[in-house]
Symmetry: C2
Subunit: 352 residues, 2 copies
Amino acid sequence: MKPKNDTFLRALLKQPVPYTPIWIMRQAGRYLPEYNQTRTRAGNFLNLCKNPDMATEVTLQPIARFGLDAAILFSDILTIPDAMGLGLYFAEGEGPKFERPLREEWAIRDLTAPDPDTHLRYVLDAVSQIRKALNNEIPLIGFSGSPFTLACYMVEGGGSDDFRTVKTMLYQRPELLHHILQVNAKAVTDYLNAQIQAGAQAVQIFDTWGGMLSSAAYEEFSLAYLRQVVSGLLRDHDGERVPCIVFTKSGGIWLEKIAAIGCDAVGLDWTCDIGEARKRVGGKISLQGNMDPMVLFSGPDAIRKEVQRILVSYGSGSGHVFNLGHGISQFTPPEHVAALVDAVHELSRAFH
Amino acid sequence: MKPKNDTFLRALLKQPVPYTPIWIMRQAGRYLPEYNQTRTRAGNFLNLCKNPDMATEVTLQPIARFGLDAAILFSDILTIPDAMGLGLYFAEGEGPKFERPLREEWAIRDLTAPDPDTHLRYVLDAVSQIRKALNNEIPLIGFSGSPFTLACYMVEGGGSDDFRTVKTMLYQRPELLHHILQVNAKAVTDYLNAQIQAGAQAVQIFDTWGGMLSSAAYEEFSLAYLRQVVSGLLRDHDGERVPCIVFTKSGGIWLEKIAAIGCDAVGLDWTCDIGEARKRVGGKISLQGNMDPMVLFSGPDAIRKEVQRILVSYGSGSGHVFNLGHGISQFTPPEHVAALVDAVHELSRAFH
């Protein structure tokens, strides 16, 4: 069943739209005071992710405030390794960590893809609840981290400045890393398909750390597994096409290669000129992006100017979903987000 | 007067060489025990930079250990803003900071380019002393930060995760940032020319943070000033051509544009395939790079394999200076650096 506002889904499929749709990565997040209130009530971030009622509540908060064209499931990219038993936790002010990072060969050989219906039930419940709450006004996006990005956190045991541990494994014991990636690719495919069956109307794969690899290593250790996931995804559900977006942060240099793995759209960070990107993919897929999140710290006039620059660069016609080139900063003034959404809706009509 | 080993200079000018020359960004650094000893003796990093005897000593340390084809002046990229009076200091474990970040309009309007002969004498003295100590065996590289990269530190007051302060200025008060960049471009040009006159036989401009900008902002706020610096450089000194290398970290996506500003070579980080890069610049300039520094944490066999992959990708002929795609990590085992240098020298002969 099509949502009443289906501009986001149509733009992903390059069908005509009256204006360029917009959603914002991390749109349900710490820049919203109401989000911080719910989070305080939850006790911590992980409780918030694991409670479908509260996940539904925060997913809807930015929708209530701004005229966004899609909602995205509120969750974390590390739910899969958590379900694998690595013990996800969030140290205050330090980002995600794992109690049991994946370092030993026996632990790697023992790794298996979790069954989403049992181990990630709370996510699927959240998807169903959010769909009900959205009342078919706008579509819901499901998501997952990419096999390589999950492996980075699993092997490093958390974030990293240089990814020394996972890269040492990559160069010294490539077969071990491939084993992890193989399991992760199955886990991500099963997880996204379960989200689609629970009601997600489009999916995005976040390859946050693939862009830290050499070109050759990216193809072998990230892109190959993204391709495997994309080819295993349900692409139709409930009589509707389910578009799939792949976003490799800092992956602009490999755009043609990413565009060729079978996804419907590629997410771009802000370092890529979106008009050049459109030429490079030969109009074969849609593009999502790509304003620098830091533009939101200037003011309504500068935001409008940058929106116009990006719209002019992309040019006329469908196939563009407006977004930031990375998740929104927690320090962003919410009224500047309103200015962004309004500017995109208003200024983009001239291009359709 | 040509150095006895001039493979580095010849490769930058695309003249025939018997093997691919190599130097390593941050080759005089914390991964060397002898460097740490000198630094302890100096008391802190800034003393080490400001004392020409000790700067000469650490510059020569990696040359004594490895068969490197060039030495690079030991200094810091923030000597210029320090000479402008911003008060550079290094907080323990926190990287560089400025006592007086550049935020107020009056301070920006008052900013002037320092005279290198007086305010940066210690750098020029180090250049002369290192040249004497090198005894014309290998060439000496001088360097500077780029106008935009210096501005990032000057406005932020140190490093940053998101460059929020400088980007807010960029979008909200672009004319103020342009004023800083204009002063910085003059300062960098004067500084590099003074290094050349003191004996630097090639120069590299480090645009460490230009890659954090949108494509449009990169052209307007970083590339335009790189072009201005390059066109103001002395390109011949002492009867010899002085090649100029421009390195924008994460700038691979803009390679054609960087290659067109008049430099002799472009530095590449490891995300760029060097063979594709060679095609993209049409063989018009030389390329420097581009092994992932993390490869040095594997072992001699993996290092050799990666060296071979990069050499094969570049292909036959001159115009390639081997390097890492970023500064060497302080945790690198020095014996792996020896394996790298030997592998490059040995394996590259087949390509010349």
